[in-house]
């Protein structure tokens, strides 16, 4: 019953986590918005928790990805190692492709 391509992004793609300014029960934390990382893996199709939280159960499932970011890109004053990373799950409507060659990796 899928009407959309479940895999817009592939592992290794450079993406920016958008700030779509959506209020309510969203799963994209503030600290990763407008940050650039790469697709770590595709998780699968899940009902959007932004809808489920308000009782709208049974909506079309949407793609969920694990996105990996460098800690140095998240926090300018990060004090750990340059190789440290953070991974979190982001639904595809919060992601956009980064085309600039100046982006990391």
């Amino acid at each position: 019953m899928q009407t959309r391509n479940p895999r817009i992004f592939s592992p290794g793609d450079v993406v920016r986590i958008r700030d779509i300014g959506k209020a309510g029960h969203v799963r994209t934390p503030q600290y990763v918005r407008n940050k650039v990382g790469l697709i770590d893996s595709y998780v699968g199709l899940f009902e959007n928790p932004e809808e489920r939280a308000y009782g709208r159960i049974g909506c079309e499932p949407i793609p969920l990805y694990r996105v990996r970011l460098k800690q140095n890109d998240l926090w300018p004053d990060y004090e750990g190692s340059d190789c440290d990373t953070l991974v979190l799950e982001i639904y595809d409507h919060w992601l956009e492709t980064v085309t600039s060659l100046k982006e990391p990796q």
């Binding site: 600290y31 998780v43 190692s81 190789c83 440290d84 953070l86 991974v87 979190l88 799950e89």
Partner: protein, 217 residues
């Protein structure tokens, strides 16, 4: 004291114990909201008190030893390890563990990458496998600091890594629940699967300890 009589456990020097303070502290706004919401859901017939009680009982019955059993099995059975890394939920069910979570992702520690789990948004945790999370895991301090300064937080728990080991934090913010698969300690070749499981504490399964280094299980 004279125990030279036959009425069992009563002591001659029975004394009054000091009264214990009741735990009737003032509710936080969140606790008050929870109690009111639960009452309304029960009143409207959406859930029953029995369902809430059963779920709490289920969560309390789950213990970190279930996750430890999965780790120990994966250490001794490479094929099980492959299945576990591919689908953590199926691998748990294979060991007879009930899993309520939609998906369990098992993340493997290596000599190059150490993994740590946090949920910055609330307190997502693989409760079916590990039981209720420790107080530190749900604390605001951990949830904010683990993503910001994971090495400093781990150091407070006695865990340090050199700068050539990547510390990878997993923010359990959406639909997956995470279980960390630690490396098998050296010198454990002779141990049985049960003995190996006893090396794996709760904190190992979140990435906040290493097996065999946290002995107060």
């Amino acid at each position: 004291m004279n125990h030279d009589h036959d009425h069992g456990h009563e002591h001659d020097d029975a004394h009054e114990h000091p009264a214990q303070e009741d735990n009737d502290v003032v509710l936080t706004p969140g606790e008050a909201k929870f109690i009111a919401l639960r009452a309304m859901l029960i009143e409207k017939g959406i859930i029953t008190g029995e369902e809430v009680r059963r779920r709490l009982e289920f969560n309390d019955a789950a213990t970190p030893h279930q996750g430890a059993r999965m780790v120990a099995r994966a250490w001794v059975d490479p094929e099980y390890k492959m299945r576990m890394l591919a689908d953590g939920k199926k691998a748990a069910i294979e060991l007879g563990i009930d899993v309520l979570e939609a998906e369990i992702m098992v993340i493997e520690n290596t000599i190059n990458i150490h993994n740590l789990v946090v949920c910055t948004l609330c307190s997502c945790y693989p409760r079916s496998l590990l039981g209720e999370p420790p107080a530190w895991y749900v604390s605001k301090a951990y949830r904010s600091r683990a993503v910001r300064e994971p090495r400093a937080v781990m150091q407070e728990f006695g865990l340090t890594f050199s700068s050539d080991v990547e510390v990878r934090v997993h923010d359990s913010n959406a639909d997956l629940r995470y279980l960390i698969f630690p490396m098998r300690p050296a010198g454990t070749e002779e141990l049985s699967e049960n003995e190996l499981a006893n090396l794996v504490s709760r904190d190992c399964l979140v990435g906040m300890a290493l097996p065999g280094t946290n002995l107060n299980l």
